[in-house]
Symmetry: D2
Subunit: 437 residues, 4 copies
């Protein structure tokens, strides 16, 4: 393993290479291999980009086929057969069964670009500049999206003040306080200083912000505040959409109906850059070409994205599988929290995004570093890196998930300097969570 | 051809599908085919993204190979063999022969993201918020880049004021005035109202803005103004880098040494999303992860990008070929301008980006529409769509280029309602420009 | 009474002339007379500008004297004997007895200018752009001050977004919540989205915002949050300083030590334009002339301001008198609140700024209109004009205060359509509140 | 003379006290006296505030009268007899004879407040945020006005970026270039990056910026550009209005008709804080109270302002007198420029604002310092203090003006270390300029 070219040539801004200092050469499903032939269980999944695992064979087959026939790879936003097929499938498999009426924008292939487009559209529609974002939010780092991102590390890099966004507390931010009450009070009060916003932008689970979860009833209250004050509701489903919490959209069970939705990360299914903005038809006041971009039409991504929908979303089976494995992950976390009190752990999450939060400063990073040595790739999140974020591919085999959790528990025990808890048989958890393949 | 799904489902923001209303199914080199089997000569090249043509066989071979062996497709900015190989090749083939000392940032896979990163870095380095951009500039549409983009169509879509950028006139903007004089005067005058900027950002040829070309000596004067006032010089080489004007970087012959360079579009060589920021090593004050993004590591793009460098940039042959074909294009334009006076045409451009400007309102769009009917894909640019922008793949076969130009001339004549000029034998132009394949 | 010239020539922006539609010709102490010889009791006092009443004879004498001797009226910020005398007296009578170490800036003669200077200084000192202001705050309407003012009426007139200020809830804004906890949480959380501010700006009693009062212990907590996070504390004492709450500065009894204090309104004592910024000496990093203004040196104001200090602030007598009369006003309000339940009244205030809040929409404006007809000038405040703000000159004679309150009670009863409460003998209240002139 | 209290207590921001380090005690007409009995000729006039001199006896008489009768000194913007009388006189003496239809706003008593109100109104009327200002402009230092002020000394004190204003070159900024051409080009070009502004704000002579003078035909071209692009024209006549250039408004002879005019400084005639915004009636879309302020109603200023109008503007005599004395000043400057070549002097100005510019760095400040020692108060202006700005009261006696100019010439000669030019008999100049009192 030789990282010298990176040290010499790549900017100091590089990140994950520091946490996972090796050269990866191959990947399949929930497994990664490096140059030296080491194998890793992937509990990270490209920060939520690889919900269907690496190099899923079905999508790969379609991709090779497309390339071999000289399909159009790049065509800006010209119509191609790949794009047409994707649109038709997305309408038939995702929108129609959910009775959703949305128009689709291809804003450029990254999540941050989708957020930029969503914010622009909201501001244009309402003719207002202000946007409300939430504490600990992450929506991207291009300047418009960055203004809605809470973390000082990203914000201070802007080199200029980030304007026209006001932050209010997310669900659970202040113990014992329903934070929608403050928002309602400030919006109702014409002298609060909170300018009436064009939109509220929210993640139903804050992945980057520390696996904070908004309760469904809280989301409902938020939606009704938006309606009452004529404010658009934008759900940024980039990290926890595409099935991460069980349903395709993370807000389905909450029963809310966002005006605008952003999707990216696992949308292509294969790790290829792609993103979408969904908007209620009546909001589609875009002038032609008013938001452009060279890579709006990443046709390879359209090919795999379509295949992902066909393969995983035509029945409910996949959603049930995610639920089952999510339950297993949760049980494991609760076990850790009760069996290792010195870790001062706490459980967070929904579906297959689960966080093991700790009040012991620095502990999560130590556990994650130990995990890497033991062959598990997992990252921390939260303002102070205070949460281990478990984000395996949704398609991970139950056995492998159990193996990974068991390895992680070993790292927890080792890092805390205590014995492995006797009750820690992850396979037991699996059974409790229900059968599986 | 059935575009109903696009009309029904895709947002009004869609653009090129309106200019080129068909469904493309296949592409190779400088040719595109649609659903109905029609063939098109591509004088557009993905707005400069396909300098090496569609589905270049060498790159395709590498891509298929990589996919077949389950190479890592997505790994954020973890180290992969594909990334390592790209970095080594970029250093060896591009930087070292040019004696360039730059560090490399992968800011996300789009040009606008590269511009965002460049502006952030410049502002951080200098501790100043202001940036100088030029009339008719285009640098992208995410909010930070958008603030440096001149076109009202994009700017007004922001829905908020675009701050901390001041526009000054580009080379040739005012007849008879050396516009660097105004810049120098305003920067020297402490009471001019022009806050000392962190950086100047410039395209050496403004593709989107109407194929405006900055003279080399003007660029040199701009560079020395930057040095004198301790201002960084950013060259946005996204559209005209990667060989478009002949040399790999568009500023090589001008002899200027930008502090920061942005690259994207043709960088991957295959139309895949990828971008880079190059910065002088002493400017690399980034904190780890301070600019992140899910698709920084588009490994498929790294594979083809490396192959493109190996295939086209290890000798000077390709540069000479571009020069020769660029000359041929220029001769054609000059011929058109003199042979069709009623079109009030004017020639613009450098290398293989050439613009046929017209003072007759609406004429360029009419010619481009006629061209599409005759099987040539070409777009217009400029604030008033007043320029036909010729942007064929650099690898286009001379015969095909000649065919395309001949077809275009027919469209010019037809649109103007005049006879084809007798002297208009494009093959003659080719000979004048020198032999070649 | 003929207001036609105002209707014809003065802009629609005019305000108080609409509430008090008559032409005033003469004023003395707490009384005003109009063209038709009607007399009014002044419970408004120039919105807190006339703490010592109209045309106070002592100050008037000094003023006439100064004018008769051709003292310098205008001299920008050149040194004059009037300015020198004021500075010496301010130091001796106000700063030294309170052991306050402040430097003094004359920022222009208006409160909003003082706020502008305070905010600029804070931002320069800390090198940060963000400022924290509070819900319902009013700090002026020039753009910098306006950004810290909560009311939508003023904010929307800006015609541009108001940047670099974040609003947080004032004391009592959310029932049952100590709002400093939210502030502390957001400042401690590096991912809250609340950029570390240069300063917090606060009124200890929000006059314009509805006579909201911050508890002393809450102010102390706010101060310690500021210290902990290296944030400056600015107290805007423009409306409730100069003795309005009893002490010269409104924050004296809270025991807090602001880094910057703004004073204006009653500072000149005579209704003449004048303002000051006080700053801790170590913060005085101003470059010479960096904040200028034509009317920094309103020498007539310096003459009367000095006289006001000499006349009212060399002993504690005046403070005690304010306390006594404030108590009387408070008792009256509490009497009203309990005797007229249909008004849904509530008491607010401190010292001689007392508010009679009502939950009945529109009621306060009706009472104020009735009062004007009965010869009492009083205004409403709050986002919805939901509070009658009692702001008589501090020097008002006890009898006249009693008369005014009695008249006001008649208006309350009349507006509510109920009988005068039998217990409503204001003179009794006066006795309860302690003797006096 | 003892300035210790200022050194100890006044902020470092103090300015003129540094140029004129003495304590002034008395002033009359164009003369000032200090504590030590020294007499000074005032060629500064409160930076244009004392056009009618210090303590003009007629105004003083009215002021004393008003005070003695307990006229209302402060009443916010309630109607008073003093305000009514002023409005009627302003309409009759100023507006009607000039056939001007304007409504009048009292925005607060300072120039910067008038500019703030004007900019707010323009932005509201047009629904656009951008404003165009000119190189070397000065419009005040509160944040909104500051954004239109060019000088870095003031701008950098803001501590935050100054947004929504774009600077373009003033008349004469680039030799040989008609700078309105650049403005026209950028406004016509939809891709110039210059967002369509709500308004252009301009001084017809830039006092603070170095006595730069816009030619009448240039102003006319500017006006027609504004009309063509639906942009408002704001003339800031704060420093050069009220007769400074001869006519009451500085733009009268140019024949332009601004949409909005700001007045302050000499408006009260007596050095008292007062300002006005004039707006065409159709622009008066202000909501009641949307721009407020405690000192909008400085009634003492209304009393003297009315008297000034009655005394100086009911006939043309005063305008002619200004013209005559302005000519005398100009001849003197031209004499200096030709007689003292080593000073590299150049003449600038219009009417009785005349500038003696010098290319010798530091020379103007040295001459001004010498002048103070010789009993002449005069200041420098321009980005580099490169201009001696002559700004005597318009009412200055011809003899005294001649004396002052003679003294100044002595300072010029002395500072340059050369002999007094033989032709330098200022009294001769006076005669050349025509007779007078």
């Amino acid at each position: 393993m030789n990282l010298r070219i990176f040290d010499r040539l790549e900017s100091e801004v590089r990140g994950y290479i520091r946490s996972f200092p090796t050269i990866f050469t191959k990947a399949r499903g929930a497994m990664l291999w490096d140059e030296d032939g080491n194998r890793y269980i992937d509990f990270f999944a490209g920060a939520g980009t690889l919900n269907y695992g690496h190099n899923e064979p079905g999508m790969k087959a379609r991709l090779l086929e497309y390339l071999e026939h000289d399909g159009v790879v790049h065509g800006l936003d010209m119509a191609t057969s790949a794009k047409k097929d994707f649109l038709e499938t997305f309408e038939r498999v995702i929108l129609q069964p959910r009775h959703m009426r949305y128009k689709v924008q291809f804003p450029g292939p990254t999540g941050t670009n989708a957020v930029e487009a969503a914010l622009k559209l909201a501001r244009q529609v309402k003719g207002r500049t202000n946007i409300i974002a939430f504490t600990n939010a992450f929506h991207g780092v291009t300047s418009g999206a960055l203004a809605t991102t809470g973390n000082e590390k990203f914000r201070s890099a802007a080199g200029q003040p980030l304007a026209n966004v006001q932050f209010v507390p997310y669900d659970g931010y202040l113990e014992g306080v329903d934070t929608t009450e403050l928002l309602e009070r400030m919006l109702s009060d014409k002298s609060s200083g909170l300018d009436l916003p064009a939109a509220v932008i929210i993640e139903t689970v804050q992945g980057e912000g520390g696996v904070n979860t908004a309760r469904f009833e809280w989301l409902q209250r938020l939606e009704s505040i938006c309606r009452r004050h004529d404010v658009l509701l934008i759900v940024d489903d980039i990290q926890v959409g595409c099935g991460r919490t069980g349903t395709f959209f993370s807000f389905e069970r909450a029963g809310v109906s966002p005006d605008i939705v952003t999707l990216s990360k696992s949308l292509s299914g294969f790790g290829l850059p792609m993103s979408l903005v969904l908007m209620k038809p009546e909001l589609d006041i875009w002038r032609p070409s008013a938001h452009n971009g060279t890579f709006r039409g990443n046709n390879l991504a359209f090919v795999t994205a379509r295949e992902a929908l066909l393969r995983y979303w035509t029945t409910d089976d996949f959603a049930r599988e995610v639920e089952r494995k999510g339950k297993m992950m949760r049980l494991w976390i609760e076990h850790i929290a009760s069996a290792y009190p010195s870790g001062q752990f706490q459980a967070r999450g929904r579906g297959m995004i689960q966080g093991l939060a700790s009040r012991v400063a620095g502990l999560p990073n130590k556990i994650a570093a130990a995990a890497f040595k033991h062959g598990v790739v997992v990252e921390t999140s939260g303002a102070e890196d205070d949460v281990i974020k478990l984000l395996p591919p949704l398609t991970i085999d139950t056995e492998l998930l159990a193996d990974g959790l068991y390895l992680l528990e070993q790292c927890v025990a080792e890092t805390l300097g205590v014995r492995l808890a006797t009750s820690s048989n992850v396979r037991t958890l699996r059974k409790t969570a229900g059968g599986g393949r």
